[in-house]
Symmetry: C2
Subunit: 153 residues, 2 copies
């Protein structure tokens, strides 16, 4: 459920992107389709450069700017989400469910963290004097299990 295999996109997904572009009134270009595929088959949190690097194997002339532009479009259309993580380049996330992230300070790996109890906890009262909170951005930092093992030797 959280870790689907890197399978090919199915027809459902193709229909989805086709419909979304039509509804948004934008063209479903070869680039948009391929970037969509690349994004949907990535199971981690890829950067624009990650996507560009992979895509270049199939589309040698695709420009990094096109990847940035298209990912921004996908973010606006609600297909994916741009993640602004502290001290990091921007990453992209296809997991649209509410969640937070664990970030390994050694290898920089980013893992999804679900913590609904926290999401629904009441904020401290003093916040109301500061402003109105619209979203909570939580990052848990530490060492991932792989890095822990490595450092234990």
């Amino acid at each position: 459920m959280m870790n689907m295999t890197n399978a090919e996109l199915n027809d459902q997904d193709l229909d989805q992107i086709r419909r979304i572009c039509e509804e948004a009134g934008i063209k479903l270009t070869h680039q948009r389709l391929e970037i969509f595929k690349e994004l949907m088959t990535a199971r981690d949190h890829p950067s624009a450069e990650d996507i560009h690097r992979h895509l270049q194997k199939r589309m040698p002339t695709v420009a990094i700017d096109t990847v940035y532009r298209t990912l921004a479009t996908f973010d606006e259309l609600g297909i994916a989400r741009r993640l602004h993580l502290a001290n990091n380049r921007n990453l992209f996330d296809t997991n649209l469910a509410p969640h937070h992230h664990f970030i390994c300070d050694a290898c920089r790996k980013v893992e999804d963290v679900y913590w609904p109890d926290f999401d629904s906890t009441a904020l401290p009262e003093e916040i109301s004097a500061i402003g109105q909170v619209r979203s909570r951005h939580l990052e848990l930092h530490g060492l991932c299990t792989a890095c822990l093992e490595q450092s234990g030797e």
Copy 2:
């Protein structure tokens, strides 16, 4: 308590930086002293450029690189803390007490938030399979009171 006035540094502070440099075995240069003053009298979360801009009035030849370098040194020495906020340039914080931040998505103002109850809440169990958490980084995003008023008109 949270908003001390922009008073001059007192002798106590000067002694502090002098002692810290001595203990760390680094020279107390004119630049380091002035950047320390600038940092300690700022009540917000200044960027390296903020500090540089202010400082240039008194030290016209100070290089931005010196400000970055010195702030990094202060971070290492534990005098100040470099903040890595999502989607922001790096800011610096002299508030060494454990706390989090409210960030206004309109004007980018950064305010301190204390939430000890959250700091001591147990993490979800599933985290242990991902890695070992060493710190929690929480940002509350929304609109500050000033921006709320402005948008209400």
